[in-house]
């Protein structure tokens, strides 16, 4: 009884307005849905992501001479040069809205695939909807390990997840220990949403396996108005390494509070997120000389692969920022997805899925330090090697693994 005719009319006009778009979509262009938070607390990540995808779109749709899939020539060769069009949708960090937007993109905008989402909780519902409609979902920048273990057929992630990242950190510790550095105690500091919880669990598990002692495991409330009490505990524990998993906001507050309370750990090894954001280093970079963060991307790669630098310039022209760990993954995610659509020679979800499953791109043809892009049966790329970066003199240098490193780690940090 609540549906007035007005609703139905409203809905009907909305649909009618979209029909021409959808019809056009099927002829000479391929539509891909991009779902991000464009308003609310993490709107900045959404806006940055939009710029990253637009950069990727330029590489795909225009003729460029990079050694990337689809860079040469215009559009998708497998579909007679069809252009890719992106439709952006706002999920406001709400799983329900993410789900509704995914459904709208699939049924109204007739997207061939969806890419997203920054927040892992939203990725859960979006990927479920994609599975139901048999439309591939590329998880460009979600790092929660539980995502690919749900037995979904249409889920793909080219980037590493938090267990791989954490394992790389512990590999690094092991290597340092062999050289005689003392690393025995760790302090975990993670936020209480999916990202922090997953990351904290992974780190605690690996620490236990490899015989490191966790002297402090602090889970804090995301976006807390104060972190004084938490930092006081960290200071008391005084571990050899502090391992934070924080988004930008909490990261800034953490570093500022540490400075105020006079806590200077021997080393900080961070789980990306906030610690790869320009905003954090703009705010408190001076206090972070020597901080180490895991990542999937490093501008150092530009020395070996000049195109990385050039593509970074393209992105910088749009956003005023260098590629970071998130935006580079987003860029690469869209390239990989578009490449699969081109090889599928179809906009049909199932064919694109099969093409994605058959993806095998050598690492040199990416902007990442990865071995290659090849998905396992769960849709996870296990050859995406994470790197560890150290913040030295206002920029990041790669320090691990040895084959990608360009400098020795400074330990302890200043």
């Amino acid at each position: 009884m609540t549906i007035s005719r007005r609703d139905v009319l409203l809905g009907a006009t909305a649909t009618a307005a979209l029909v021409p778009l959808a019809a056009r979509a099927q002829t000479s262009e391929v539509v891909i849905g991009v779902i991000y938070p464009f308003s609310g607390g993490s709107a900045q990540q959404g806006v940055d992501a939009q710029k990253a995808y637009e950069t990727a779109l330029e590489v795909i749709n225009k003729d460029t001479d990079f050694d990337l899939p689809l860079a040469k020539g215009e559009g998708l060769p497998g579909l007679g040069g069809a252009k890719v069009r992106l439709v952006f949708a706002d999920h406001q960090a709400d799983p329900q809205k993410g789900r509704a937007e995914a459904e709208r993109l699939i049924t109204q905008e007739k997207v061939s695939a969806i890419i997203g989402t920054y927040q892992s909780a939203v990725a859960v519902t979006v990927s479920q909807i994609c599975e139901r409609y048999q439309i591939p979902f590329v998880s460009a920048d979600n790092s929660s390990p539980s995502l690919h273990r749900r037995g979904l057929k249409y889920y793909f992630r080219a980037a590493p997840h938090d267990e791989m990242y954490s394992a790389a950190m512990f590999d690094f510790f092991d290597a340092l220990k062999k050289k005689g550095t003392k690393i025995e105690t760790l302090a975990l500091f993670h936020e209480d949403t999916i990202f922090g919880t997953d990351s904290g669990n992974a780190q605690a598990k690996i620490a236990g396996e490899r015989g490191y002692k966790i002297v402090s495991d602090i889970k804090y409330r995301a976006n807390s108005p104060s972190l004084s009490a938490e930092v006081q505990q960290l200071k008391t524990a005084n571990a050899d390494v502090l391992m934070p998993s924080s988004y930008t906001t909490d990261g800034i507050l953490l570093v500022k509070t540490m400075a105020e309370l006079g806590y200077k750990p021997n080393a900080i090894v961070a789980q990306d997120a906030g610690f790869s954001e320009k905003a954090l280093y703009d705010a408190v970079g001076d206090k972070l000389e020597g901080v180490i963060s895991r990542g999937t991307f490093s501008l150092d790669l530009a020395q070996k692969r000049p195109m990385v630098g050039k593509i970074n310039e393209m992105f910088k022209a749009r956003s005023g920022k260098d590629f970071n760990d998130l935006t580079s993954r987003q860029f690469m995610g869209l390239i990989i997805l578009a490449d699969a659509i081109s090889r599928a020679k179809s906009t049909d979800g199932e064919k694109i899925r099969d093409a994605l499953a058959a993806t095998d791109i050598p690492g040199e043809q990416t902007i990442m330090p990865w071995k290659r892009v090849k998905f396992d049966e769960m849709g996870q790329n296990n050859d995406a090697d994470p790197v560890l970066l150290q913040y030295v003199g206002g920029k990041f240098v790669t320090i691990f693994p040895p084959q990608a490193a360009i400098a020795e780690a400074i330990w302890p940090m200043k």
Binding site: P225, T248, A259
Partner: protein, 277 residues
């Protein structure tokens, strides 16, 4: 930290507590003040400590304008005035967030260098961060000033009288709107002070107010509506309880302690610790 909560709450204590107007946009007032402070720093290199009076003055005007343009009408409602106030100010909060995102972009900002930022006085092993210390001093001064203002000046008495019986004060020639606009201005100005201090050590983005708003409401209610001293005491209690809870429970539950103390207090004293209404 408790005194800082108090500082954020003091403006609310005036608007919410003394004038009995629900203001759900309090956190957004704080956000605007922090942005003002940030821009004064970014463009004119004015240290937040110096710009605090400027920010407070600007916020005073802003608060008065908001009252005259919007809140005034919300108070006119004859029926369910409480709900109208809640949702008018709630809608206002959303608009302010949207505008902030539109004009300031959602980027996280923060003031990298300032006279106080990151400096610490250490005293017998206890660290007292300077921004917090200054915040605490400003907070005490603000409370003392407001207390004096309400209880010792004609205006303060007018304010109280207006809240209690707008009809009667009209008879003795007090314009209710002028009194309340001034009150809102003052409340917003105090938030301006808080925002300027907060900007030194907190990050700034359009949604930043949300983290503080609930704590501020609880602080004011804990102390009791209508009591300036109550809000001051409330702030200190909230700060202490938070620190103690964080030691006993996982820190992610530290707010639970604050909330539980609030519930406990109002169950025993339904008007808060020092409330008069």
């Amino acid at each position: 930290m408790g005194l800082l909560y108090g500082l954020i709450a003091v403006g609310l204590a005036l608007i919410f507590g003394l004038m009995d107007v629900t203001n759900f946009a309090h956190g957004e007032f704080l956000m605007i003040a922090m942005y003002l402070s940030f821009f004064l720093f970014a463009f004119f290199a004015i240290d937040p400590l110096l710009s605090a009076p400027l920010v407070a003055a600007a916020m005073f005007v802003f608060g008065a304008v908001v009252y005259l343009l919007i809140v005034r009408f919300a108070m006119r409602a004859k029926t369910n005035a409480g709900m109208v106030q809640i949702f008018t100010t709630f809608g206002l909060a959303i608009v302010m967030r949207g505008l902030a995102q539109f004009f300031f972009t959602p980027d996280y900002r923060s003031i990298p260098q300032s006279w106080l930022g990151g400096k610490t006085i250490s005293f017998a092993g206890i660290f007292l961060p300077e921004p917090q210390l200054v915040g605490a001093l400003v907070s005490i001064a603000a409370f003392a000033g407001l207390y004096f203002f309400i209880h010792r000046t004609d205006f303060g008495r007018a304010l109280e009288a207006t809240r209690e019986d707008p009809g009667a004060v009209a008879l003795v020639g007090i314009d209710k709107n002028r009194v309340f606009a001034f009150g809102w201005g003052l409340g917003a100005g105090l938030v301006g002070l808080a925002g300027a201090i907060m900007a030194v050590f907190f990050y700034i983005y359009p949604d930043v107010g949300a983290s503080f708003a609930l704590i501020a409401y609880v602080t004011v209610a804990l102390g009791g509506f209508g009591s300036v001293f109550g809000a001051f005491a409330g702030g200190i209690i909230v700060g202490l309880v938070e620190a103690v809870t964080a030691l006993m429970l996982p820190p992610s539950l530290k707010s639970v302690g604050i909330y539980a103390v609030y519930l406990l207090v109002v169950f025993i004293r339904p008007r808060g610790l020092f409330g008069s209404m």
